[in-house]
């Protein structure tokens, strides 16, 4: 039963990792941009949630109504004013610029909020649980997993059923020809980044309710997100969810063997999959 418990808890944890990863996956898929600042943007969203909840006293999940549009707006402006200028045939400039952005966000958060660990208080939601067939499931992890599925379904629907998604795919396929169809790629990229950071906002708030956070933890979230994307295969959002679940399960099983092995087990699972399937499990685009 302990092992089954580890697998179920790991699966639910995978939902959070999938949320970390979905924005990364979307951005890479649409514009081949590897966003090193992604983890810090998740932490930024958590801090925005903190500011909103302490200023207004509303529940962190209600704060999403403010944090999601704010992060989306930040994403659009960031893309139009900075990141678009780094895109081209070379992958290096966006890597360097987003690395610099990561440093700037971390230090700005440190300046604004200090290094003290913070937490979003969600009433009793963090600790609430229910029993299911001998297992005890936390309400928050189950809710997180459900939100992850809903978000990925929503992104998938946007990509394949809407004019915006069609534009994302067209620009991703061939930027020049997409311009000939009247699509301004700079605007489309801005919208893609806005959507990615809207998802990041959800991930940041859920992270902030689940654990305590401080300005330095972005890098770790970035690694988990990257690993989930790579395990699942580039450009496949459902694959990203599965990648998150595999990572989560590997971590909880590792922790079951020895509590010190939790993080290591996740990285080992990632390295094994990378060695066996360098393109991930369900690749849709080739890098």
């Amino acid at each position: 039963m302990d092992w089954l418990n580890a697998i179920v808890q790991g699966t639910l944890l995978g939902g959070l990792y999938a949320l970390f990863a979905a924005g990364l996956s979307l951005i890479f898929g649409v514009m081949r941009l590897v966003n090193i600042a992604h983890g810090d943007l998740i932490v930024l969203a958590a801090y925005l949630g903190l500011t909103v909840t302490t200023a207004t006293g509303i529940h962190p999940l209600l704060a999403l109504a403010i944090v999601v549009p704010v992060m989306a707006a930040i994403g659009y402006v960031l893309q139009r004013s900075l990141l678009n200028q780094t895109l081209g045939d070379d992958l290096l400039p966006p890597l360097l610029v987003t690395f610099g952005l990561s440093v700037i966000i971390q230090n700005a958060l440190l300046e604004g909020y200090t290094a003290d660990p913070q937490k979003l208080s969600a009433g009793g939601l963090e600790t609430a649980s229910f029993a299911l067939g001998g297992l005890t499931l936390g309400v928050l992890p189950v809710l997180t997993f459900a939100i992850a599925i809903a978000v990925i379904w929503g992104l998938q629907w946007t990509f394949y059923q809407t004019a915006l998604g069609r534009a994302f795919r067209a620009v991703s396929d061939n930027q020049d020809i997409a311009q000939l169809m009247g699509l301004n790629r700079r605007h489309i990229f801005g919208l893609a980044m806005a959507l990615a950071l809207a998802v990041t906002a959800v991930a940041g708030i859920l992270l902030g309710i689940r654990t305590s956070f401080d300005p330095s933890i972005g890098g770790g979230r970035l690694i988990f997100g990257f690993e989930a994307v790579i395990i699942g295969g580039l450009g496949n959002l459902w694959g990203t969810l599965i990648g998150g679940v595999i990572l989560g399960v590997a971590q909880t099983i590792g922790a079951q063997i020895d509590p010190g092995w939790q993080i290591l087990a996740g990285h080992i699972a990632f390295l094994i999959i990378l060695a066996v399937r360098p393109n991930g499990l369900f690749p849709r685009i080739s890098a």
């Binding site: 795919r169 061939n174 020809i177 311009q179 169809m181 009247g182 301004n184």
Partner: protein, 235 residues
């Protein structure tokens, strides 16, 4: 030239240090079909890229409907009603046939062309509308590329090497469909290596040679000798 829908005055084009077009003067009248011929590397595709804005050109060098479009981005030029069927078709591989056509309509210009009209012109596309565009034959892909350009209801449509890499029987079909496509007051520029085909559908022709206009005239007036001289540069 009040009737010119598109005119180029002293158009230069560069790829870095390399100059591909030298002071090209050219005009397209409303409703006319213009052919541009020339050998490989003469600058035909560069000219198409300049007109559509994929290649930056100086202000005042290209005007459309009397307005200077030299400095506009490609998407802004598309909104003005200039569409292109690019060389090599260049469909969007991750979009279905229908989605490729619909993306052409994204500019939102009003006109006779919509999905139904394109399916009526090329019924095979209706049957294949949910397939990935890359699963079609070359000729069918060319139909999608033409349909995609038409869906924007352009007033000027550019065909860049539409017969390249296609079987002769398919080329014949596509050229047979052209008059129906270009009718209704639309202007067209046809870039073609097959000179006979180009002359048969056009009213005027320009020949490019090493980035310069080497010949200009009515398609039924210029002689074979003039063309080969302009084409190959043989004195």
């Amino acid at each position: 030239m009040p009737d010119a829908i598109l005119s180029m005055t002293g158009l230069d084009a560069h790829y870095g240090d390399f100059q591909a077009l030298y002071g090209v003067d050219m005009h397209v009248d409303a409703g006319e079909v213009l052919a541009i011929i020339g050998a490989n590397g003469a600058g035909k595709t560069t000219l198409m890229r300049s007109i559509t804005g994929l290649l930056k050109n100086g202000p005042g060098q290209i005007s459309h409907d009397g307005a200077d479009i030299g400095g506009l981005r490609a998407d802004e030029i598309a909104l003005r009603g200039i569409a292109m069927v690019p060389e090599g078709r260049q469909l969007f591989p991750s979009l279905s046939v229908k989605e490729n056509l619909m993306i052409g309509a994204q500019v939102g210009r009003k006109g006779p062309w919509d999905l139904d009209a394109v399916y009526k012109l090329f019924p095979i596309l209706d049957e294949r509308k949910d397939q990935q565009s890359t699963s079609l034959s070359g000729g069918q892909q060319q139909m999608v590329a033409i349909g995609r350009a038409l869906m924007s209801n352009p007033d000027l449509i550019l065909f860049d090497e539409i017969s390249l890499g296609l079987a002769p029987v398919i080329i014949k079909d596509i050229y047979r469909a052209l008059p129906g496509i270009i009718g209704e007051g639309m202007s067209a520029i046809i870039v073609e290596q097959d000179i006979t085909k180009a002359l048969s559908v056009s009213s005027r022709v320009y020949c490019l040679q090493e980035g310069r206009v080497s010949l200009e005239g009515g398609s039924d007036q210029i002689s074979r000798e003039e063309i080969s001289r302009a084409y190959f540069g043989i004195e």
